[in-house]
């Protein structure tokens, strides 16, 4: 008994080390911008860089649009599948898993091939390119968003709720916006925060479609010539990720035992 607990603590120690050491190293590194002393100079420089705020804001916008479109696309679909088209359940679940099979790099390759010329020349315009990127992000977020919402729907017996609402004379719009969405609040929010976490630092798709306008490619550019700033950006990203995951845990009161996203 005692021996096995010691063994457990040993592994926790190793895991903690692996987790903490790179963060410590990065943090320490980010403080070394001024020769000889530790300072927050690198952070100051980052925060003073207009490009930082611009790319951050741009990615945040992309993320917000991704969340809105994802929710509007997935909630009604998942709801309708549970209510009226259970025979499509398998097919939809299969589709939502496809982003695992098609890595982001392949997906963006295909998107560029399809949408960079007639008959669908989306990449010709600024708006079109941005829209295409948002669409790509919706696909990336699909597995997590769908799973979160489907679990949420499973918890609230939508069929009975719908029938009760209908018997009281509610139409579809009322049902969807006054009943389904509010009851799925936690599921939607936790799916959204995960989407935010995925999109904010996304590099692969952004670098091919919009370049350094987005936060991920911007960070990458900084990394190529400014060492200390890149460390501070890593710390900022980490805090951001932590905040999103923390919000999810808070929302679900730790019931969401783990949120996972794919590799980037």
């Amino acid at each position: 008994m005692r021996k096995s607990r010691l063994w457990s603590w040993f592994w926790i120690f190793i895991g903690t080390l692996y987790f903490v050491v790179p963060l410590l190293a990065t943090f320490e590194f980010s403080l070394r911008a001024r020769k000889g002393t530790l300072s927050f100079l690198a952070y100051e420089r980052v925060f003073k860089d207009p490009a930082f705020w611009k790319s951050f804001g741009f990615s945040l916008e992309l993320a917000v649009f991704t969340v809105i479109i994802s929710v509007l696309l997935i909630v009604p679909t998942a709801y309708w599948i549970r209510l009226r088209l259970p025979q499509l359940r398998g097919a939809v679940e299969f589709i939502t898993m496809l982003p695992f099979v098609i890595p982001a790099i392949v997906l963006v390759f295909g998107l560029i091939r399809v949408f960079s010329g007639p008959p669908l020349p989306l990449t010709d315009t600024y708006f079109g390119t941005t829209a295409l990127l948002v669409a790509g992000y919706v696909v990336l977020a699909l597995p997590y968003m769908y799973r979160s919402i489907d679990i949420g729907l499973a918890a609230i017996d939508v069929r009975t709720l719908t029938e009760a609402a209908q018997s009281l004379g509610a139409g579809w719009g009322t049902i969807l916006f006054k009943i389904v969405f509010p009851n799925l609040r936690v599921a939607i929010l936790s799916g959204s925060f995960l989407t935010l976490a995925i999109v904010m630092g996304e590099f692969t798709m952004a670098s091919f479609l919009v370049g350094i306008k987005a936060f991920g490619p911007y960070m990458s550019l900084i990394g190529q010539n400014k060492t200390y700033e890149s460390s501070s950006l890593a710390i900022i990203s980490f805090i951001l990720t932590w905040a999103f995951i923390g919000l999810i845990q808070l929302l679900t009161r730790g019931r969401a035992e783990g949120q996972m996203a794919g590799a980037r």
Partner: protein, 304 residues
Amino acid sequence: MSNKADMKKASHNRGVSLTRPSKTPWLTWLGVAPFFAFTLFFIFLPSASLLVGSFQNNAGQFTLQNFIGLLTPSVVNAYWVSIRISVVTALLGGLLGFFLSYAVTLGGLPQWVRAALLTFSSVASNFAGVPLAFAFIATLGRTGMVTALLKAWFGLDLYAQGFSVYSFWGLSLTYLYFQFPLMVLVITPALDGLKREWREAAENLGASGQIYWLRVALPILTPSILGAMILLFGNSFGAYATALSLTGGFLNLITILIGSQIKGDVLLNPGLGYALAVGMVIIMAVTTALYYFLRRRSERWLRI
């Protein structure tokens, strides 16, 4: 609206009372139309386009030449490096993740350790890409903290020993940062599914702890462990941003190769690029299918 529908149904019923009223099926299907339209445009069309492209030559005629082109040494090497790094990080990450998960589920540690580990794992499995590469450069780069400390404390000069954070093993260590947390997240439910009664039944029948693990617990967990490791494999096989930011495209991974193909056709043959992508999707499809097969199997066991 529903009232109107009901009324329509009722009148319909009176008219043709013998057949079941058709509930305007196309209206029902309209509910999922946006989803299918979206996925058609942004998943199926791009995939199909790559698939078609992979069977065409520069003039747009059918050819198998692109797939034969996959056999050129540099391409084979890229696949091979990608597979190797995925296998290595899946195995190492899988082991570390498993032991961590074991520690917090069956290892007799207090509850807060479990909660902390799961939260950390959620964060770390999401912390990938550009910033992760920066972090490991600051850790294991030439002037990184760990590199310096190892030299100062143990006189161990990593770089003199041939190690580099930009190398295969450097990238593997970096990938492990999101691999083992993912393992923790995936395998913890399986370890939770091991019933206390199984252990007790085994002991009751005379088995030692070791025999219980060998004959009962490990066989029950095997599909879950394999499945999780396959998931880890796919996770690193598809990774691009981390590798590119870390090695600057130095390491010849399949994703990096595809990336440079998108940017500027290094292979001088777009068809070959599409074939690369298709090959990658096939590998991912096989691993994902295996994962689901194994997961189904372990669910069947763990539910009893």
